[in-house]
């Protein structure tokens, strides 16, 4: 419990550090650090599949993509003629944060055995998945067999994202050449 407390407080500190940095490069590095601490949180909860994903996507890939973008747009943040936009953004974010805090009151506690996610289909997966599917990794069994249709949708989303980013940027390049 104490390690959770330490990790969550570190997350809050790093999240504040992310947006008080003057240089975009420092912000990106802080975001990578945030993902690294999230990885430790997931390991602490025993969710190793999610921990590998967070370490690879959050720490490595997204930081590298941000760095590739910074190489194009530059390190400094321009703050002229955008005051109104900043105020609107601040108001919208505060409303969303208030909503999230309000929702958080009703969420079940961590590890609450009476919460809906622990009393419906999870019991079936825990007790029966090895007999029905025959593989020890329960996460793969749920993702690929019980919820195969959902995973098909996810793969289509990833495919669409990759192809669209490629063609949007290619279209802009061609537009600039004319």
């Amino acid at each position: 419990m104490t390690i959770n407390f330490i990790l969550c407080n570190m997350l809050i500190v790093i999240a504040i550090l992310v947006f008080i940095q003057k240089s975009l490069l420092n912000s990106v590095l802080m975001l990578g650090l945030f993902s690294l601490i999230m990885t430790l949180c997931y390991i602490n909860f025993g969710a190793l599949d999610v921990a590998i994903t967070e370490a690879a996507v959050g720490v490595a890939i997204s930081t590298l993509i941000f760095l590739a973008v910074i190489k194009v747009v530059g390190v400094n943040i321009e703050t002229n003629n955008r005051k109104l936009l900043y105020y609107i953004t601040a108001i919208i974010s505060s409303v969303v944060i208030l909503f999230l805090i309000f929702i958080n009151i009703d969420t079940p506690l961590l590890g609450d055995i009476l919460s809906p996610i622990h009393s419906l289909s999870a019991n079936h997966y825990v007790s029966e998945s090895y007999k029905e599917i025959g593989i020890p990794n329960m996460v793969t069994a749920i993702l690929a067999s019980y919820r195969g249709f959902d995973t098909l949708g996810e793969v289509f989303v990833i495919f669409t994202a990759g192809i669209s980013v490629f063609y949007i940027i290619k279209m802009k390049d061609k537009h600039d050449e004319k």
Binding site: D49, I133, G162
Partner: protein, 139 residues
Amino acid sequence: MKNRLIASKIGYFIIPILLLYALYVQFHGDYSPGGGFQAGVLLASGLILYEIIHGMDELLKIISIKTIQKLSAIGVLLYFIIGLIPIFLNKEFLNYYAYSDSKLLAQHIGIFLIELGVGITVFSSILLIYISFSKFKVN
């Protein structure tokens, strides 16, 4: 590439381990943490590290953009066809029991092939996104 001594020395050491670990996570996903998504991301990060050290031209010599696009479609199609075949064998969509008489073996075959499709698609999509962003130029 100039002044990349540290990156290239670390890269020679760590890229083979990354690629091998990606293959381990892909083909061992039934028994240990991981699966197609994680393997695809690890494989892509290995190739991105190669790009950082040696430059974009060297990466595109290994694997061209056309190939990456084809791979990302092949992964989705593999998944979809694996789901489609049971319909012609009088079973439901994505019902793996059509692949073998033994129920556990049928599940094994289905999960293995589907994870392979997921891995190929994730690998090529992430590589495609990274290549697009790093080739992008303002003005």
